[in-house]
Structures are given as C-alpha cells and as structure tokens.
Symmetry: C5
Subunit: 89 residues, 5 copies
C-alpha cells in the first residue's frame, strides 16, 4: 500500500459504463513524513475519503477487490483513511 | 488511473489477431495541470476518444476489462474522457 | 522479492472491512548492503515481523497469497524475516 | 503497449520447459520519434518480428495471452509490427 | 524477461510456509552488455542457477508459473540460464 493525500476530483461524463457511480479522487503520493513525492494519480474512493485526508491506496487487482467491482476497469483505489503514522527508526 | 492526452495513432498491419479492430492511440501522460510527464504510451481506445482529448487511461488487467476482450494482449486502455479537473490543495 | 526494514506502523480506523485485523507495517526498501533505497511502502505483515527487523516483502497478487486473503485489497506483504545475506560478487 | 525495436536475440539452453520453442528477442524501448529510451528488455516474439523491425510489445499477463501459453513464465511479448506512427500534437 | 547475474543468496528461517524449500537468489539486473543496472532483487531459482551465472528472470504471476507454485507468495523467479546474447544494432 501507499500513502497519499486526496487533493481533488476528476469528472468524466463519457466513460466506461462500469465506472458510472465511482468517485475519481486525485491523490498525491506522500512520504511517511507527509511530503509530496512524485505525480498525483487518480484513485477510486471506496471508503468515503474527503479532500485533504491522508489515505492508504492500492494499485492493480487489489483496487478492483476494494471497489467490489471485479469487472470494472479500475487500477487504483483508496482503501483506508490514516489516523496515525508511527516511525521508530 | 492516469491522466493523458491523445496525440496520435499507431498502425500495425501484422499483429496478434485478437488486436484486429482495436484503435491504438498514442497517449501522452499528463500532470494534473495538464503538463506532459514522461514518455507517451500506446493505449487501446474503448470510449471513442479523439486526437487532442484529455483522457483517463488504465494499465494491466483493467485494460482488458475495459476492452471487453479478456483474451486480447492489451495492457493499456483509455476508459474515460475528462471534462473537469478540480484541485483543492 | 525485495529486501526491507520494518521502521514503523500505520493505523487506519476507517478502512476496507477486509483489511480489519491486518498489521500495516512501514517498510523501508534496502539495498543488499542494508542501505535505504527509495521511499518506504506499507506492507501487510504475515510472519510476525517486528520493528527493526530486516524482511522479505512481495508486491501484487503474491501479497494476497501471503495474507491468505485473496479477497482483501492488499498489494504488498512481508513474507519472511531475513537471517543472512551472502554476496559472492 | 510500448514501442520498441528488435535489436538482437538471447539463447538459453537450460530453461523452463514451457519456454522451449519461444524466440527471445532483445527489444530496445523507443520514444514515438524512434529514439532509444531506457534499457532493452527481452520479449517473446509472437508475430514473426525480425531484427531491426519496430514493434509493439506488452508486459504482464497480456504477454502470456499473446503467446497462447498461459502456463509459460513469460512477462513480455511482441504483439505487432508497426507500419506507421502519426503524431498530431 | 530481464537479464541478471546471480550474485548471492538470502536465508530466511521464519517465512511463509509455501516458501519452504525455495532457493532465494540475489540477482543483479544487467544491461545487454552485462553491466549492472539498478539494485539487485531476490528471485526464486527454478532452473538450478549458480552463483556468477547470467540468467533470465521474470516478475509477477509469471514467477509463480515458473515455480509451479501458484499458491506461493513469489513475485520474481529465474527461468533460464543464458548461453549467448547477440546484438545486431
């Protein structure tokens, strides 16, 4: 899993019909000290994540499992909202 | 999912027979402010995307789901045409 | 497989219900001489790994196999605790 | 899919028996203006590609689909020979 | 597939029980002229590869196919020992 922050949304009216009803969240990958790393990606929300929240997201088949839509063309999904990060280096 | 812009097409006459009839679109990955990032890839169009349009594309198994061709050797597909991107940093 | 070191934990109360009970470990990728390389990722522990231990982790479907939870949205898991690394260059 | 150029071959006598009979082609990834990008990879030929030809190749499960060998340990395959690339920036 | 050189081994006593009996080989990715590229990874040997040998390795599901262990948490495997590399640029 990866750490990210929800920073926006994408609207696509013409899309695969199995994507209808999904929420497409722009998610900024974060380091463990919550710094942005790399380019944002677009993840399907499956846990009610809101703008500004720090989340866990997954890629690939795991994202279709999260969405309970194995026949949807999803390759990234938000699966949790992070409460706490503890580093013991 | 990833954001991209359709910038061209590829023609391949000799190809896997399960690719016959697919439209192979050259897709430039974009940042959320629509700047090119990295090298273009070749995605199968599944939503009627045209040259110049900003699209959502997926990789891996999700692309065969989008194409409704699970027995086709596809690893990237366009699944939506983007109407609007909203960033709330 | 990849080499990593467990350096922390993540708590997410609101999450996919199939993730309930999993231990989310912050794992720092390591080179073979145990130097950090790249950004930490979040892996599900399946072998009782503790903070500070050097571990083997896997990505993708292999991680759901490791967790014995094929219906969980997991894309990274710890599958072994490393005792010894031998390099014969 | 990705664009590449076939630049050589690899011979491996001791190999997985499900790879027997496959042609292992060294494939240089190309940009859309046919410049080399990154390191060559080794792809299984499924369309009769020859040295010097510009090809489409795929990664992952798509490559086993292309090879019609779902039980072979293949993770990259050539699926088409490119006739024409059109860019409309 | 990728080219690599076996440069060492990893021992993990506490590990997923479906990994018992596997040989975990430290594999240095190589360019086609046999120069090291990037960080070594840990691949399961399926062809009797020895230290110092130049090998072909695969990632993802292909590695479980190679190991004939679809229920093992393997995401990288050695599938061939390279005899000859021919480049015709």
């Amino acid at each position: 899993m990866h750490l990210g922050k929800v920073i926006g949304t994408v609207v696509a009216t013409r899309k695969d019909e199995n994507l209808i009803g999904t929420k497409l969240m722009i998610t900024q990958p974060l380091s463990m000290d919550l710094k942005p790393i790399g380019e944002p990606i677009i993840a399907v929300d499956t846990v009610g994540a809101g703008i500004g929240e720090v989340v866990l997201y997954v890629k690939g088949t795991a994202s279709r499992i999260a969405a309970r839509k194995m026949d949807s063309p999803i390759d990234c999904a938000i699966v949790g909202i992070v409460d706490d990060i503890t580093i013991d280096n």
